[in-house]
């Protein structure tokens, strides 16, 4: 269960280029479809809806012509260091895979105590407040590789871990005991029309992500909490980077900056 800074060979991670992201929402739709994420007829109550990947629209608060907008897609951050949700779960229903760094959810073991949701600072986890229900025709399109979750359990983005299992199975059938680049890609990355999302092994220089995370544009959400997310963002805008880290004390408050309309 220990998740202390593993030095494993494979660490799957994601890089999202916010300068490219148009906020089209394709990644979120693909995620919903791929993972059988339930929805309700009335989705206006965002505090109770299910979204493994949520897109935040952030503004710098400045007036025209300095007004700027950024879209921040937020999947599970797949925290690497003492993963907050893994360490708190009393029933070991959240799992950190040391061989890949994937943080997965064992839905059939979840007791629905929601302590993991309190522990997660990224609001990644959703609780099934209702029984999942799809329109009759939509049931035909459910993904048979992902079990729908029942009422009363918590669910979250798994980096499409079922795709990882499928990729491993395929590799085994081909006589390989390793995955090649491109064998395993989450649905959101695959669906992005502007290729703003990149995925791969952060430790393997063969993958683009291993280089992108070293970019001066790279940052992570709430870095000072030291959860060591494996989701990185790229942005050339200082106000976005500063905002993403709640930098309210050591630098000028992100909120007050927003009010003052500062665009760096």
């Amino acid at each position: 269960m220990s998740t202390e800074s593993p030095q494993q060979s494979v660490r799957y991670g994601m890089v999202i280029d916010l300068d490219k992201c148009t906020g089209c929402g394709n990644c979120a739709v693909a995620c919903h479809m791929e993972n059988n994420v339930p929805f309700r007829t009335d989705e206006s109550d965002k505090s109770r809806n299910m979204a493994w990947l949520r897109i935040y629209k952030v503004k710098n608060g400045a007036e025209y012509p300095h007004a700027r907008v950024a879209y921040i897609p937020r999947p599970c951050m797949q925290c690497d260091r003492h993963t907050p949700c893994v360490s708190v779960c009393p029933a070991s229903a959240t799992n950190y895979d040391k061989s890949t760094g994937l943080v997965d959810q064992i839905n059939t073991r979840c007791i629905g105590c929601r302590y993991c949701m309190a522990a997660c600072p990224y609001m990644v986890r959703c609780f099934n407040w209702w029984d999942p229900a799809w329109p009759a025709d939509a049931e035909k399109y459910l993904n048979p590789d992902v079990a729908p979750r029942m009422r009363g359990v918590v669910e979250k983005c798994t980096f499409c871990s079922h795709r990882y299992i499928q990729a491993k199975n395929r590799a085994r059938q081909e006589g390989r005991n390793y995955l090649e680049k491109g064998d395993y890609i989450p649905a959101c990355v695959e669906a992005c029309p502007v290729e703003a999302m990149h995925f791969g092994d952060l430790n393997d220089p063969e993958y683009e992500v291993a280089h992108l995370i070293k970019s001066p544009r790279a940052f992570r959400l709430l870095e000072r909490l030291h959860t060591e997310p494996k989701v990185y963002y790229l942005s050339s805008h200082e106000w976005v980077r500063r905002w993403a880290d709640n930098d309210a004390v050591n630098t000028q408050s992100a909120y007050s900056q927003q009010r003052q309309g500062v665009e760096s």
């Binding site: 505090s47 360490s87 009393p90 029933a91 007791i111 105590c113 949701m117 609780f127 009363g152």
Partner: protein
């Protein structure tokens, strides 16, 4: 907890009067049962909780009644282990109050989890790294201990004593009660602490996260201390209220004053340490995580919460109960104990609700939670259950050993 062989006949109100008293509480209990049915049948969408407020009024009340139920283990420890003999007059009542608090909390938790039938998974698939695992193990085991401590009280009932096996069981259990008092102290120490640890270890929630010693954050120790300060205050209140309602003297008046004094001394120690903890957290821990102290207090969860916890429901009752003339006066004794209990409720409210209200993500907003009637009904049901059980215990058991003598 007396082991006398000849139990005195105690005067109790008439059966119709008692049933009338119970009927109000039974109605409340039924209301709560309906609320519980809706939550279990239709799901937790019946509550005001959401993906922000994953804990609501139930967890607040759970934490509060577990803290207030600490009177049982602490009184047991003082009486059986440290030989504070004045507590003999009310140790039975303290055990019953503790039993009510813990069984009520576990009942409420069962409704609170999304999959109640999987509740045993936390034993079966226990994650030893989770503070909640420790809480679940300890409160369950401690409820067993409280049940064992309750048994000798039940076997003192005149009808039950006519059955030799049960009489001997009760007397034998009474003889080894010191062992259970010690086990109860050990278990309570850890689960009271772990409840604090549950929030103190949330290193990604800057409002509740605390540094500490080894694996234990400071909240671990503060929760223990606040519980043993508030527990005796609730015991004092319950005994006082029972005396008023039944119009009988149940314990010597100085006993209540001594218990209240003990509560006040512990409360002062707690407040000093809590102040030190808050100052360090506000000046070092929170800023290191990118938060200013003032970021945590927004309407309606404003600075009044901290003020209320420290001054109105902290320092004020501590001062009242430390003054001999004040605690010897019934009005001030009740105000002091009531405020002490309310301070603990407010503290647990802050750790539960305010922790979740403060946005950690920069793109999120400060959110507000309001419980639904279903949630309130279950809270009311737990209180009703407590009143009913204590009323039955008072009527049919010998909770106060000196009652006959004091009303002679």
């Amino acid at each position: 907890m007396s082991s006398q062989t000849d139990m005195p006949t105690l005067q109790r109100c008439s059966a119709p009067k008692f049933l009338l008293w119970l009927s109000f509480w039974v109605l409340l209990l039924l209301w709560g049962a309906y609320g519980a049915f809706l939550c279990l049948y239709k799901g937790l969408n019946q509550t005001g909780m959401n993906n922000y407020f994953v804990f609501g009024v139930w967890i607040t009340v759970d934490l509060a009644i577990i803290a207030l139920g600490a009177g049982a283990f602490f009184s047991g420890f003082l009486f059986y282990v440290l030989r504070f003999n004045f507590l003999k007059e009310l140790i039975g009542a303290a055990v019953v109050v503790g039993f009510i608090c813990y069984s009520g909390a576990i009942g409420m938790l069962t409704i609170d989890i999304g999959q109640p039938l999987r509740g045993y998974f936390s034993f079966w698939h226990a994650n030893v790294h989770s503070m909640l695992t420790e809480v679940i193990f300890c409160i369950t085991l401690y409820l067993f201990v409280l049940t064992i401590e309750f048994v000798p009280l039940i076997t003192e009932n005149r009808r039950i004593r006519e059955m030799p096996f049960l009489r001997h069981l009760g007397e034998n259990l009474h003889g080894i009660m010191v062992v259970f008092a010690l086990v109860g102290t050990f278990l309570s120490f850890f689960h009271q602490g772990s409840l604090g640890g549950m929030f103190g270890t949330l290193f990604a929630r800057p409002f509740s996260y605390r540094t500490g010693v080894a694996i234990w954050p400071w909240t671990f120790f503060l929760f223990i201390l606040s519980a043993i300060a508030a527990g005796p205050a609730l015991t004092t209140l319950v005994v006082w209220a029972t005396q008023k309602i039944t119009r009988r003297r149940l314990v010597n008046r100085p006993t209540l004053s001594r218990l209240a004094k003990l509560s006040a001394i512990l409360l002062v120690i707690y407040l000093v340490l809590k102040a030190a903890d808050t100052i360090y957290w506000a000046n070092f821990t929170a800023p290191e995580m990118g938060f200013r102290f003032t970021d945590f207090y927004k309407s309606p969860y404003g600075m009044w919460l901290l003020f209320g916890e420290f001054y109105l429901f902290g320092l004020v009752p501590a001062i009242i109960l430390l003054i001999p003339r004040a605690r010897d006066n019934d009005f001030w004794l009740v105000i002091g104990c009531l405020f002490t209990c309310m301070g603990i409720v407010l503290n647990r409210f802050s750790f539960t609700i305010q922790t979740l209200a403060v946005p950690v993500m920069p793109f999120e907003k400060f959110v507000v939670y309001s419980p639904t009637w279903q949630e309130w009904s279950i809270v009311a049901a737990v209180i009703s259950y407590g009143v009913i059980l204590f009323s039955l215990a008072y009527r049919y058991l010998h909770l106060f050993p000196r009652e006959a003598e004091l009303n002679g």
